[in-house]
Subunit: 94 residues, 4 copies
């Protein structure tokens, strides 16, 4: 953790937060499915859908990051931000 | 949804449920980070960790499914369960 | 390597071999692009297409494996083949 | 295809080309394995290794792209290159 902050618009915060709220609901749905002894393959469909939801969140946030922080950083001569981005993108590719 | 059920041991249910509880905590942590305007790249580390947690859940559940439902199904002559598994595995590979 | 063999139909072998031949052509195309100083993003489109081609090969082969070797193995009481499959699927999920 | 060119150092070209040559050898090895009726799971280990080799190539090339073309582009006021990169990274995440 860097303790750095990123200013986001109200619309960006709302969109990201809504994704997380929906995801939280999906996770609670999965807990209920385990509790109710639901068939494995049916649970897997729901958990793959939760995994896609996290990917969607990551893609949206990465877009803000690249168009905001990274573009500004490069313009201001911060070359380290490119290394940091590359490291994160390599992790996202796995 | 098939409305089929899968009997799981108490230990299996506890292990899967614990994974989901931890994941729920991670998602709530992400919501707080968005609220607090935390730096994008720091949030991405946490959300990639949540994505890994879902993968871990999927792998554990898939293991129970293959060693339980699928193995029993094949022994009982249910060939459709192999097609169903293959379809799910192909989605998991993406 | 186990030195075990798998009997495949002529059609299966032809289909898998054709995928590999096309892939070999894609790789040679990539070598030419590097030689010709083609723009990075254009090369990445071609290399992502080669990565998809390998995924397609893996999915086809995995299908034959699960419907053939694994189904037969389970029917003949070979439980180890399920562990082996699970290990491979977990690697494919990454 | 954009018909744009990217100047790469001799060392970069050599490193990328060597990766592709090794990959070509792996693909030909896979063709031989199919021809020789090698056990499915053994072939899958080799094809997953080929998939990792393409990932390695993609990561190396993406690094050159981000530190070269993208950084220069942003400095020169080309904002489109960020959209192009984001689109490619989203495909690489799949």
């Amino acid at each position: 953790m860097t303790h750095k902050l990123t200013a986001r618009t109200a619309a960006q915060k709302k969109s990201l937060t809504n994704r997380l709220k929906r995801l939280e609901g999906q996770i609670r749905g999965l807990e209920k499915m385990i509790e109710d002894d639901v068939y494995c393959n049916d649970i897997l469909q729901q958990s793959m859908s939760a995994a896609s939801a996290i990917d969607g969140f990551n893609q949206e946030l990465l877009g803000y990051h690249m168009k905001g922080c990274v573009t500004e950083g490069i313009k201001n001569g911060d070359e380290e931000i490119v290394d940091e981005l590359l490291k994160t993108v390599r992790k996202l590719m796995k």
